[in-house]
Symmetry: C2
Subunit: 195 residues, 2 copies
């Protein structure tokens, strides 16, 4: 998605340690016009998948998830993070490790809002090691729901998350895939994609 | 806002302890059409305030904040919650007590995204005791930014948050104000408002 790649080049920061800082427009301050475009692009890419729900995890995925839900005309659900070990019997829950924060959170969705009739499009801001995305897939599996696909705004193509999900047969679409980056030189190389 | 009051009556649950459960459409599963209407209503109510930024706090406020930002054509910022005591020198930070969770979080906004040229509309899903809203006001004060107003989807009119902010001179608008509720009888009484 050209508009997103341009925004990353213009406003993102490449830092040592494979950190791509996009908090000016994606995950702290957020550009609503860009989120609307992201939602419309996910609709274009997944419109044939009979999507009934959009699922993300708090907090950075929520803005693009609500725009995606609006494009599809279906409800959005955000999984809640909790450090607590007490699992409410009325939730689907799974542990997700965060490389960014170096901790593990339980992420949960109420059983009321996911079931075997659902066909779920999972979206998130980043797909790198795939911990969050795989956690959301597990919540769908617990519910017996079908996973329509996984959509990320930015994929770090040199980390294994996207590859792993594609090898398992999931329909994965990332709007910008970074294949190479270098915090010392500022190098940022996007994978060529159609559309 | 009639549409929100109707949705609360239709899908909300009044529970003992003054709990109004709206996780079917507002803060867990989210109705994107309703969020769009909420954003447009906040625009109608605050359009003369020269708003430059929409500010909320993660996570439940984000969906309506991005729709409000889209209606105004300005960026949205969500304050991040952290239990950590280490304050990054590059953030505005303040402590916010949560009655719901019984804990105190530090909420933070990068200094890059709020400054004295900003006129900030603060929005959140609930206004009850006003802890979160007042915390967001303090972040604006730290930045030297003007507070354009405070918008809540649902205000518990029998709790002191809204009254306190209005007495301090802030322009507060709540789209549905619950003046009375009773978890035993299911009573739910909205304040009559114009518009």
């Amino acid at each position: 998605m050209k508009k997103l790649e341009e925004k990353i080049r213009e406003c993102g920061e490449v830092r040592p340690g494979n950190i791509l800082k996009v908090d000016m427009f994606l995950n702290h301050q957020i550009d609503p016009g860009l989120m609307e475009a992201v939602g419309q692009e996910f609709y274009r890419l997944f419109k044939d998948e009979k999507v009934t729900k959009i699922l993300t995890v708090e907090a950075s995925g929520i803005a693009m998830a609500i725009e995606t839900a609006r494009a599809f005309g279906v409800p959005m659900i955000f999984a809640k993070k909790s450090q607590s070990k007490n699992i409410d019997p009325d939730v689907y829950a799974t542990d997700v490790y965060s490389y960014t924060h170096g901790n593990t959170n339980s992420v949960r969705v109420s059983k009321k809002y996911l079931n075997e009739d659902d066909c779920v499009l999972i979206v998130d801001d980043f797909l790198a090691n795939g911990e969050a995305m795989n956690g959301l897939v597990r919540l769908c599996e617990q519910a017996g729901a079908k996973v329509a696909g996984c959509g990320a705004a930015i994929e770090k193509g040199f980390q294994p998350g996207g590859k792993g999900l594609r090898e398992r047969g999931f329909h994965v679409e990332s709007l910008a895939i970074v294949d190479e980056m270098d915090g010392d030189t500022g190098l940022l190389k996007f994978r060529q994609q159609e559309g």
